[in-house]
Symmetry: none
Subunit: 188 residues, 4 copies
DNA sequence: CATGAATGAGAGTTCATTCAT
DNA sequence: GATGAATGAACTCTCATTCAT
């Protein structure tokens, strides 16, 4: 039933989603939802925290593996697309609502997660620049935002079961992000 | 006053924004807004259509200039970041709300604009692949989405008057998109 | 300008008429009306009191003429249709709104007028029954309402300048009220 | 609950009636009404269409009975007063609001009903004139309006459970309409 | 005299939530 | 576990009215 709610939230936006719509999609009446959940907000909370829990399980495993910076970035991107595949709705909700939600105490964990996230990615990029794996002529914060957005916005159009598997999409994205889309360019 | 409304819509989301909040931000009472606008929706309409009007003025000029595919992409990206600079709030609103809005007849122009947009970008990318300017081993639709999202999501964090000028950001984005962030990669 | 307001009130109803509609019909802006009138209610007040003033001037002349009961009824009906002709809108407003207005102190004169009205008509009918001019087998209060309504409701469809003059309509109405519409009936 | 709404509409007028007044009269809060009805307008719609449905059931039975013109008129009047007795509020609402409502598509059936109504009454009167039952020296359209208004305006003052039963009122009205209120008049 | 802009009370309506059944 | 009915706060919007210009 959380899955149903997540789909509706993702499609219509949290605020524009009425409890009745969720109930309709779940085949019951609006009042009946309250046997299962405390509130509309608690559904959202559970959707987001479950997603972030699984995301960090994956990320932490990658970060603990002791890979080089380029390999770490690659693994994080692959992991991210797998999460998009498994939690598409949650990711879409996160993208749309997190800024406004993170102001509320109940969703403080969104801010924490975001900071941890930034530390992991930005740190890896900086490590990669120092190690000569990534270009030094780019603003690293800009690069961070570029890579981050590039990956996660995919949730807005990705549909599971489409032509490309998550791993295939990850591979193509990585190729674009790392090597660019132009032909014959080089950074000696 | 449309600027005020756009800022509030961008920050809180259209649905979560009450007319009272807009009125507060504009220094008047909620009812007073209706002397200037027919409805909350008409404010949104005017914000988005004004933005799209100016966007297409710029895009059309670029597309009519007869540039090569790579130069066209470069010019479109530069133009896009300039629009983000001038219409940051409108772009953010567009990003968040357009999917759900485009279902309504009143906002049918969003769908039209999106199709024109896709045609311009996708066409240029295909032309570039054919001309040997862009890599042929990538899915061109995936590449399109990658480039498109890469550019426009910037509106979610961009603040006018920050460290980087729009043109500087465009330059860095283009460098990443075209040549990648990795050092020493080449596509001969 | 009162005439304009009266027409709009008559057509749309007092409550459904906005000040703006009156102003539109008068060729000015809503706020400008307040140079001429204190309030929407005062327009209504002036319309109704002017009409009732003229009505009673006519009625009082009839009642003071010392006519017999049948001739008095005839004269009152003729006078009424002349008032409908001259104050069609006011009569229509009166018909629709008086019950609800008469509860307000400002419009107490409506109640007074109505009582005077009832006294004049009912008294004449009773006088006529006693004098053998009118049938005694009918409930006189019912008869009063019958005659009263019969006359005044005409304001709802009457349009000045139509086929029938007010006096012609009065003549036909009187013929129906006094002698009935059936052929060959008699009350010896 | 429709009955409650009808009473309030009848007494105060549709526009002057707030949903809060209806809710008060029904012993609930304004918002609660919307569990039972889509809108204030849909209450009005249901009240009027229910009334017209029953009215035409009665009228159609009369018209199908194959009576002579005078008997038809008598039966229609009797039927009308019975409807006033059963749907007093609805009739009063119809009288006050129908002209303005019939302009809206939703209430187009009011216009249709009115045309059917006119056809039934006017046709019967014309038939009666041709058959020598009614006077030929009167304008038949004027007569139609006279009879029509005479009957239905009664809803504005009629109170169920009063001194006169609907059938008694109908009898007196018919006597006045058919034979007049004057004594000794004849139409040979 | 008229305008344009604002006010503020109140309208119809929506919706998350509650709760007896 | 689910339903139907109700709650009450909040929302968008309307409108009579005011007033500086």
């Amino acid at each position: 039933m959380l899955g149903v709610a997540a789909d509706v939230f993702a499609e219509q936006g949290y605020n524009a989603t009425t409890v009745r719509k969720i109930a309709d999609a779940a085949g019951m009446l609006a009042g009946s939802l309250y046997y299962h959940f405390d509130s509309k907000e608690s559904m959202l909370d559970e959707i987001l925290s479950t997603f972030l829990g699984e995301l960090w399980a994956g990320y932490d495993a990658v970060l603990a593996a002791g890979l080089g910076p380029r390999e770490t970035i690659e693994a994080l991107v692959v992991e991210s697309f797998r999460e998009i595949d498994r939690h598409r709705a949650a990711v879409a909700i996160y993208q749309k609502e997190s800024r406004y939600l993170s102001a509320q105490p109940r969703f403080a964990y969104l801010t924490e997660s975001q900071q941890k996230f930034e530390k992991a990615w930005l740190g890896t990029l900086e490590r990669g620049v120092a190690a000569g794996a990534f270009r030094a002529d780019l603003d690293v914060r800009l690069t961070y935002r570029f890579v981050r957005d590039t990956v996660w916005v995919a949730a807005s159009w990705y549909r599971p079961g489409g032509l490309h598997s998550p791993d295939e999409i990850a591979r193509q994205y990585l190729s674009m992000v790392l090597d660019g889309i132009a032909l014959g360019s080089a950074h000696p």
